[in-house]
């Protein structure tokens, strides 16, 4: 224990580790700021940063693994009594795992602290911290193993960026197979996975985290146990060898159980209604037309009373899940109130929006409500991704340019300060530069003139037959 604490104290002074904490936290913050602040949501962003922190841990651990060689104390260590020499490596590994858990806690905590400071509410999922921390510990274990076993700076340096990058490339292989047919069951076995779809109401779809934590725990156990075994064997320390073998056996058992469980998990889950769920195990399961038919049969998500944080703005009421907070409800109501005001008289629009889970819905509206699927985008943008017109326009991909130009016009009218960003391209337009030009050309006209123009072409817009070129400034 004393040796472990000593190593831990040295690791706590590692500039690589601290530099990594600063860099990874700084790299995560743009993502944190890009979404609506929610603790139950940004915990996933913090979790994702573990992939890059893994590289930092591998570098710091590789440096530790090379220490005896670097400092020229290798001959000294090799002539110490066997048991003492065999204790050094397990102590360093234990310190490494503890330092990984602590350093990732700093990153995870910083992301959540920023979220909370921005007004985020909800409860973060502690399993995401544990999963990320174990990934970092795995990177540390592999880095230390490479440093200790190969004694090569070259291998240690190249391994650090390769670990996360190779994980990502393997993910793309797993998903490209899944999309083209053959079953690939090892997608969830990768150390870092693409996070499953998440809903504050339905949870993760599918929920793999408990099994994945066990799987990562098994990998960490196997890596650390393996290194300890080699060290004990080199030193001829039988007791340490026995303990290492027991640790390895535990790792194999845990890995077998958790990997079998993970491989049985579906690759995706689609929820069509409270009682209708479909799991996707293979690419062939994903028959878009059949699933759309099923969605139409099931119909819109019923009002289950869970969207109970409401706000009313200019007669438009929005109800969202409590995890999104009252500010979100208020902001969304404000955006829809803008849309309702500019579109008044053109058609019969709903005067209420209700949040529904991020599910597979054929209809975005009921007869009197707009169904606002949960999404963590800022309502300033999201309310225009799901505009009021969606309730009255026929579902078709034809004439999308003209429809998006009308959405852009509504957005530019509601947010005149964003017009310059849209025009310059600093803000991504809703449907490309041509659509942005047409929307901004409409916004440059008096509002009543635009309403008169829209009233004239409304039937065509509704059917989807209006071309973008028919609108002012709309050259396709």
């Amino acid at each position: 224990v004393t040796l472990t604490l000593l190593e831990l104290r040295r690791l706590a002074q590692s500039p690589i580790l601290w530099g990594g904490v600063v860099l990874v936290t700084a790299g995560t913050l743009p993502d944190v700021m890009a979404f609506w602040p929610m603790l139950e949501g940004n915990d996933l962003i913090a979790h994702d940063s573990s992939l890059w922190f893994m590289a930092v841990a591998a570098l710091a651990a590789g440096w530790l693994g090379l220490r005896d060689r670097r400092t020229g104390t290798e001959p000294l260590v090799s002539v110490t009594p066997a048991d003492a020499a065999a204790r050094i490596v397990p102590a360093r590994i234990a310190a490494l795992v503890a330092a990984s858990l602590a350093a990732f806690a700093v990153v995870f905590g910083a992301v959540l602290a920023v979220t909370a400071a921005r007004g985020g509410v909800g409860a973060p999922d502690p399993r995401l911290y544990l999963d990320g921390a174990l990934l970092v510990a795995l990177g540390g274990g592999v880095g230390y193993g490479l440093g200790y076993l190969t004694g090569s700076r070259t291998v240690c340096l190249f391994a650090a960026p390769t670990l996360p990058a190779f994980n990502q490339f393997l993910l793309s292989v797993a998903f490209s197979h899944a999309a083209t047919g053959p079953t690939v069951d090892w997608g969830w076995l990768l150390p870092s996975v693409w996070e499953p779809q998440r809903s504050v109401v339905l949870g993760f779809l599918p929920d793999i985290w408990t099994g994945h934590i066990a799987w990562l725990g098994a990998l960490v156990t196997l890596v650390c146990g393996g290194i300890s075994l080699v060290a004990a064997r080199r030193a001829g320390a039988r007791r340490t060898m026995s303990v290492s073998l027991a640790v390895l056996a535990f790792g194999v058992l845990l890995g077998t159980i958790s990997s079998a469980w993970l491989m049985s998990r579906p690759r995706g889950v689609a929820v069509f209604g409270p009682d209708t769920v479909r799991e996707f195990h293979e690419g062939d399961d994903f028959d878009y037309r059949a699933l759309s038919r099923l969605a139409r049969q099931v119909g819109p998500w019923p009002n289950d009373g869970r969207a109970r944080t409401c706000a009313i703005e200019s007669g438009f009421e929005v109800c969202v899940y409590p995890e999104f907070g009252s500010t979100f409800a208020h902001q969304t109501a404000l955006e829809y109130a803008h849309q309702a005001r500019f579109l008044r008289g053109l058609d019969d629009f709903p005067s209420r929006a209700r949040m529904v889970p991020a599910y597979w819905g054929a209809d975005a509206c009921t007869s009197e409500e707009l169904l606002y699927f949960e999404h963590r985008n800022d309502p300033i943008i999201h309310a225009y991704d799901v505009p009021l017109m969606g309730c009255v326009w026929a579902a078709t991909h034809e004439g999308e340019g003209a429809r998006q130009a009308v959405t852009t016009w509504l957005f530019a009218e509601a947010h005149p300060e964003k017009r310059l960003e849209l025009a310059s391209g600093r803000m991504a337009p809703f449907g490309g530069p041509a659509v942005a030009r047409a929307g901004l050309a409409l916004a440059a006209m008096p509002v009543e003139d635009v309403r008169t123009l829209l009233a004239r072409v409304w039937d065509e817009l509704e059917r989807g037959s209006l071309r973008l070129s028919a609108l002012p400034g709309g050259r396709e």
Partner: protein, 219 residues
Amino acid sequence: MTLMGYRLRPLPRAALVGLTLALLVVAWWLAPHLGAIGAARFMQFASVLLGLGAGFTVSRDIDPEPVLASAPHPYWRTPAVRAALWLLGSGAVIVLIGAIIGARVVRPLPVDHMTELAIANLVFVAGLVFLSSLPWGSLLGGAVALGGIGACAILQRLWAYWPLRVIDDADASRVEHPRVWLWGTGAACLVAGLLYLRGRGLRLGHLLTSRKPSRSRAI
């Protein structure tokens, strides 16, 4: 040739050759599964990894001081030759990776453009790691260079006009001629490193050293 052989002798050749071979094999295996973005990312990653290899052409890890203390000091020409050879070899590997990806992808990709960007990345990363390996050695210098690349990636997300775009996202970029920036910065770092070496010899890591080796004793 004999002199060249001596100059290249201390390099970790097995690891460096192994790395390039591994990259070629992985490119062959991954190419059919990569889309346009995946292929571009893979080439950028390969260029970063190969660029890091330049850290092993110069540092006290490669040319240990106890050995050099009693031997003629290799001057700036030795690391210059090594770095030039490494850049040429790595550039060839990137062209080869581009050719493999171009031949094995399902849909045609702008491989020439991706290769051009990857080579600019290679020069930038190689320059960065060459310079950072001088005071800190290959591993720590490589870590510093990786940190620099990470910082560039963060800055390019925050500011569309940030010129050094290692993981280039063409849609978000507002920079004209990003390749020129990468080439220029990389070359400037390499030249700065060589000038430093020319002034001090290969007594790396000892920035406070005052002894300047004799030019006549250089290899």
